[in-house]
């Protein structure tokens, strides 16, 4: 609901994301470069986004050393 605490919170995160987009897009204007902007995650805080979607971790892997490492 408009003007509810939840609405205000989401609006704040949305505005924060707009600031972030300007920063991320400032690195390169080349046509092939990545573009950042509004998407389905724009009203999430970075913390919420991490907690919901970034839940994997990597096991340390040995360096590839040609054919010997395969199989």
């Amino acid at each position: 609901e408009v003007n509810s605490p939840q609405f205000d919170r989401r609006l704040f995160f949305f505005q924060e994301s707009a600031t972030r987009h300007a920063y991320l897009n400032s690195f390169s204007a080349a046509s092939q470069s990545a573009k950042y902007g509004i998407n389905q995650f724009s009203d999430l805080s970075q913390r919420e986004f991490q907690d919901l979607y970034l839940r994997a971790s990597a096991d340390r892997a040995p360096a590839f050393s040609g054919q010997k490492a395969e199989g």
């Binding site: 994301s17 972030r20 987009h21 991320l24 690195f27 390169s28 080349a30 092939q32 470069s33 990545a34 573009k35 950042y36 902007g37 998407n39 389905q40 995650f41 724009s42 999430l44 970075q46 986004f49 991490q50 919901l52 979607y53 970034l54 839940r55 994997a56 971790s57 990597a58 096991d59 340390r60 892997a61 040995p62 360096a63 590839f64 040609g66 490492a69 395969e70 199989g71």
Partner: protein, 214 residues
């Protein structure tokens, strides 16, 4: 190596999925690799059960996260066969593991490799062409705002937090790039895909690279 290679052109990559509000990227990444390698072997492309991996890979934490390597260890050590997604559909919640009898049809994983290709991304291209789509773990913090194009900045190679599937590469343009399938639905990125510059270990894409063998 071909200058451009995309496993999607070979009809062995399943459509982009949506993990929804569940930290199951690691399961999507592994299952994506397994079902593609299964199809490369001559079988029809069948979408396999992500929920089975989510529920049953006990060394991982279901929707609270996991690692592709732990899931692959579970698959190889237990010889569990992945059943079709249609038989064990995705619920975006961790549930009780459903067991199937040994005679039940499915796809088993014989072996896998997990290797660090940092500084050797050309070799990683060869690995992709030779073995099929690769399960990798990346730093995806800046992906919250990604709309499309080739990522070249804003990505650490030291804070891996998201598992995805590398399905191809293209080195024919000014910026060579990896073609990566994500599991955040088709409305995210470029119809669910993200492109990352080849050659500087962007987002740590080359740090932990798993290939599966069936």
């Amino acid at each position: 190596l071909p200058a451009k290679f995309d496993w999607r052109d070979h009809a062995i990559v399943a459509p982009v999925q949506n993990q929804q509000a569940c930290g199951s990227c690691w399961a999507f990444s592994v299952v994506g690799a397994v079902q593609s390698v299964h199809a490369i072997g001559g079988s029809q492309l069948v979408e396999l059960s992500v929920q089975q991996v989510l529920d049953c890979s006990f060394q991982n934490k279901g929707c609270n996260g996991g690692t592709p390597v732990a899931a692959l260890k579970w698959l190889t050590q237990t010889r569990v066969k992945l059943v079709p997604q249609s038989e064990y559909p995705y619920k975006a919640q961790t549930r009780m593991c459903h067991f199937f009898s040994g005679s039940h049809g499915g796809v088993g994983v014989k072996n896998f490799t997990a290797l660090d290709f940092s500084g050797q991304e050309e070799a990683m291209m060869g690995h992709l062409v030779k073995h099929g789509p690769l399960s990798v773990v990346v730093d995806a913090l800046s992906w919250q705002d990604y709309l499309g194009g080739i990522i070249q900045y804003h990505c650490s190679s030291k804070r891996s937090n998201h598992a995805v599937l590398v399905v191809g590469y293209d080195t024919t343009g000014d910026i060579p790039y990896w073609i990566v399938q994500n599991s955040w639905g088709t409305t995210w990125g470029d119809k669910g895909y993200v492109y990352m510059k080849v050659g500087s270990n962007i987002c740590g894409i080359a740090d932990s690279v798993a290939a599966v063998f069936l």
